[in-house]
């Protein structure tokens, strides 16, 4: 089969941010009608490259050409003109707008030169939606749609602007395995109609399943471009990280002891006041990891917040370490021995403007030896900081730099160090490795297993099925605020879990 023509080419792209060389002489090309995967860890420079192509960043040097013609991209307008469309990882949709309003924004159809012509846009969106079998209702309010549909709105938005090149940035991060499969069908449909796709991801299985070519990036540079047939997961992982990576977490089988946490028919409301956790029951024993699998937004966040005392409980009970802790505030819960690695580490886990040392006593500052009679004891705080920085290998120039100056991985280590340093019976870890580099992920996984082997109970919530399967001893699947089923990790399969996460009933 002859090679197809190159439709998009980036040559020698260099882009520098303060302290980071995000793209270092990067070359990349995309052929007509292909799916070209761009693979790399967080911080490898994939998103920077795509933002250069889309005109959101100006490269320090290098040249982009479309259909062989060099183009100068100053702003997204230019790339839209050149037929490039982008679906961002965090959707660029306005929740309170209708789908049609979102799609027309920036490219509005007008009457009398200034009045919006909603009708013709709605009609055009219906046509596009039908043509590519995307099933999008132009009159729905965007924020009320499920994420999978919102993603399609983004695709329609690009097609509405006559995009022939589509950049998808981590599109499967928010989808169930089944929704991801649906997306792949749509991607094939699009390429068969002459659209070319750049598919950015860090998931190895996906690129092998869908891509025509795979370009791997690491540390701002292109490591190489391969075809799926010529490679496998282990080889790709090695290219991505720069060394051999053990893809599985090594662990002995668990030795569960007595019950640490028991949850009975817990009901929780979300921030809008609607019930989002509908009577969840489970228990965790000392020395085991219970993984909660599920697509984001099925009540996991609210469940964890209720367990840790951040959110009030509407119904049901929970017992922790033999005591009824229903509706207790965070302080008594922490004092009883619960450690919480929060989902949003910058929002809940850290005070970014405070020094590392203060962040290491964020929830113990009032207790001896850090606080005595309401007075802070700097010597104790300093000693604690130096010990934890050493023990947990936190890379920081000093205990007194603001924690915001640390990298994401080291910020997470600060939280882990703090939470695991006091007397712990239960660890609740919500998305503990999201957005981290492989080294940090490995470290945190190892710590979780070490704690488990010491007889600590662990509740692991993650949207990454691989992480759940690697660490858990038992897996509970959460869907629409309920635990659909709980299975032994040893007997669970990806496919089966994926089906349950998408709402299939275990008996069927």
């Amino acid at each position: 089969m002859p090679e197809k023509t190159i439709i998009l080419e980036a040559k020698d792209i260099t882009k520098q941010f303060p302290g980071v060389l995000a793209n270092d002489h990067v070359d990349f090309n995309l052929r007509h009608g292909e799916i070209h995967a761009l693979l790399g860890e967080n911080g490898a420079g994939k998103t920077t490259l795509m933002n250069v192509l889309y005109g959101l960043y100006k490269p320090d040097s290098g040249q982009v050409s479309v259909n062989g013609q060099p183009i100068v991209i100053h702003s997204p307008k230019d790339s839209i003109q050149a037929g490039i469309g982008m679906v961002h990882q965090h959707f660029m949709l306005i929740p309170v707008f209708s789908v049609a309003e979102n799609i027309m924004l920036g490219d509005e159809t007008l009457r009398y030169g200034f009045v919006l012509d909603q009708k013709s846009v709605v009609k055009r969106v219906r046509e596009l939606s039908k043509q590519y079998s995307l099933d999008v209702d132009p009159e729905a309010i965007t924020g009320e749609l499920p994420v999978g549909i919102q993603q399609r709105v983004e695709i329609v938005k690009a097609l509405y602007r006559n995009a022939r090149i589509l950049i998808l940035d981590e599109p499967t991060a928010v989808l169930t395995p089944q929704e991801a499969d649906d997306l792949f069908v749509i991607m094939r449909e699009l390429t068969s109609r002459g659209v070319s796709i750049v598919f950015i991801t860090h998931k190895l299985k996906e690129v092998l399943a869908i891509a025509d070519r795979i370009t791997v990036m690491r540390g701002g540079q292109v490591v190489g471009t391969v075809k799926p047939k010529e490679t496998n997961e282990a080889k790709l992982a090695a290219m991505m990280v720069g060394r051999e990576v053990i893809l599985t977490v090594e662990k002995e089988s668990a030795n569960p002891a007595g019950e640490i946490l028991k949850v009975d028919a817990l009901k929780v409301r979300d921030f809008r006041g609607q019930e989002i956790v509908h009577g969840v029951s489970f228990e965790i024993r000392a020395g085991e990891v219970l993984g909660i699998a599920g697509v984001q937004g099925n009540g996991q966040t609210e469940l964890v917040e209720a367990l840790t005392g951040l959110r009030s409980v509407v119904g049901g009970r929970m017992w922790f370490s033999g005591k009824d802790m229903t509706g207790k505030s965070p302080r008594p819960v922490t004092e009883t021995g619960m450690a919480h690695i929060p989902e949003d580490r910058q929002r809940h886990g850290l005070v970014l403007s405070f020094p590392v040392a203060d962040n290491l006593v964020l929830n113990t500052y009032y207790r001896s030896p850090f606080g005595i009679w309401g007075v802070m004891i700097p010597q104790a705080i300093d000693a604690n900081a130096r010990k934890l920085i050493e023990d947990f290998d936190v890379r920081t120039p000093s205990p007194y730099v603001p924690v915001k100056k640390l990298s994401g991985g080291n910020q997470q280590k600060v939280i882990v160090a703090r939470e695991l340093s006091h007397n712990v019976k239960l660890i609740i870890a919500n998305q503990p490795t999201r957005g981290l580099d492989v080294g940090s992920i490995e470290y945190i996984h190892k710590e979780i297993i070490i704690m488990r082997d010491r007889g600590v109970a662990v509740l692991l919530v993650s949207a990454e099925l691989d992480e759940i399967m690697a660490l858990s001893d038992r897996i509970a699947v959460m869907y629409r605020g309920q635990i659909v089923t709980t299975v032994e990790a040893a007997t669970a399969t990806r496919e089966q879990l994926g089906l349950w996460m998408a709402g299939a009933h275990p008996e069927q």
Partner: protein
């Protein structure tokens, strides 16, 4: 705007109107009292409405503006100054002087808005601090110039305040005549003529008040039916999304803050060119802040904000009308005779509304956040 909120607005207005009618009915026909309350409600709601519209333009585009108070004060002073200069120094007639005064008021407020835009959009200064700067600067500049220009040098007392050309005249809308005519066809009863008189009283308003009501309608149309409105709302909700489709976030924000300046300028002109023909330091008396509360209560929509402004207007109208019937207040309610006691009502009402007990509202998602590329 849900029914709960409309119900609340109606309830407050009924209570406030009812209080005045109860007190005044000994000396005046109830319908005329209601008409007088209604007329003054609409009138005193004018700066609140315009201030709220100013806030809507700013905040819908993502810029919090607590400097509206200062912008109105600036406009009130310079508009007044402009009309005086035109009238007594350049010798223009009353009307041209006043119209130029309004334009000067708008211009000065737009300059203040420009300062706020530079601070909050370009220099990314904390927007509430930026608004406070505007408020303090306005107090300082108007206070200084007022004393420097209009009082005998170096003396606080005994100045030579020049003669201001007066206030904008009432725009006569022949509502009374219309109702009167209908009365003529239907038997011409005395009660019907009374209604006609009352209607006439309500409809006789001055130009800025009428403009404010028209601007509520225009703003609604602009915000929800035009390209400008769609783009304005998009930069206030999710500026990055707007940027990715080629909308110039910085330009949209600047432009809307300046439009907000026009609204606040007109609102300021109300004080010295429509309400009274004189200036006092700090005469806006917190109206700019109350209008922000009206904007919040109205859920950042023009009609909602107008309705909320009318509530505050009614509270102020209470104060004005109570003074008219001061002697009729029964002895056990004597404390109501004090204008200070009645004068607190709008402020207490503002705080009550902000508690959200009448329903929470949701601000534009990116309100108050500077946009960083």
């Amino acid at each position: 705007m849900n029914w709960k909120r409309f119900g609340f607005i109606a309830l407050i207005i009924v209570i406030l109107f009812g209080a005045v009618v109860l007190v005044g009915s000994v000396r005046q026909e109830p319908i005329l009292i209601i008409a007088s309350m209604l007329a003054s409600t609409i009138t005193v709601a004018t700066p609140l409405t315009l201030g709220a519209l100013s806030g809507i333009y700013c905040e819908r585009s993502g810029v919090v503006n607590i400097g509206i108070e200062g912008m109105m004060l600036t406009a009130a002073f310079f508009g007044w100054l402009g009309s005086i200069y035109m009238n007594s120094i350049f010798g223009f007639d009353k009307m041209p002087s006043l119209i130029i005064g309004v334009l000067v008021a708008i211009l000065s407020s737009v300059l203040m808005a420009l300062l706020h835009a530079i601070l909050s959009i370009t220099y990314k200064v904390d927007q509430i601090i930026g608004g406070t700067v505007i408020n303090i600067l306005a107090l300082g500049v108007t206070g200084f110039l007022n004393r420097q220009l209009f009082f005998e040098k170096g003396s606080i007392f005994g100045g030579n305040v020049p003669h201001a050309p007066g206030t904008l005249p009432i725009v006569h809308i022949p509502a009374q005549e219309a109702v009167s005519a209908i009365c003529g066809w239907t038997g011409n009863s005395e009660n019907c003529q009374l209604v006609a008189k009352a209607v006439g009283q309500v409809f006789d308003q001055q130009p800025i008040t009428i403009a404010a009501i028209l601007l509520v309608i225009v703003t609604h149309f602009v915000l929800f039916k035009t390209r400008w409105g769609l783009r304005t709302r998009s930069v206030g909700e999710h500026p990055r999304a707007a940027d990715t489709v080629g909308i110039n976030v910085i330009f949209m924000r600047y432009a809307n803050v300046l439009i907000g300046g026009v609204m606040a300028g007109l609102g300021g002109a109300y004080f010295t060119l429509e309400s009274v023909p004189s200036f006092e330091p700090g005469m806006t008396n917190g109206r700019g802040f109350i209008s922000l509360a009206a904007m919040i209560f109205g859920n950042w929509t023009p009609f909602g904000a107008w309705a909320a402004s009318l509530v505050f207007g009614a509270a102020q109208a209470l104060q004005i009308n109570m003074q008219l019937y001061r002697e009729s207040i029964p002895a056990q309610w004597a404390f109501l005779q004090s204008s200070y006691v009645v004068g607190m009502v709008p402020y207490i009402l503002t705080m009550l509304i902000l508690t959200g007990i009448i329903g929470k509202t949701i601000s534009p998602a990116a309100d108050g956040q500077p946009y960083e590329k």
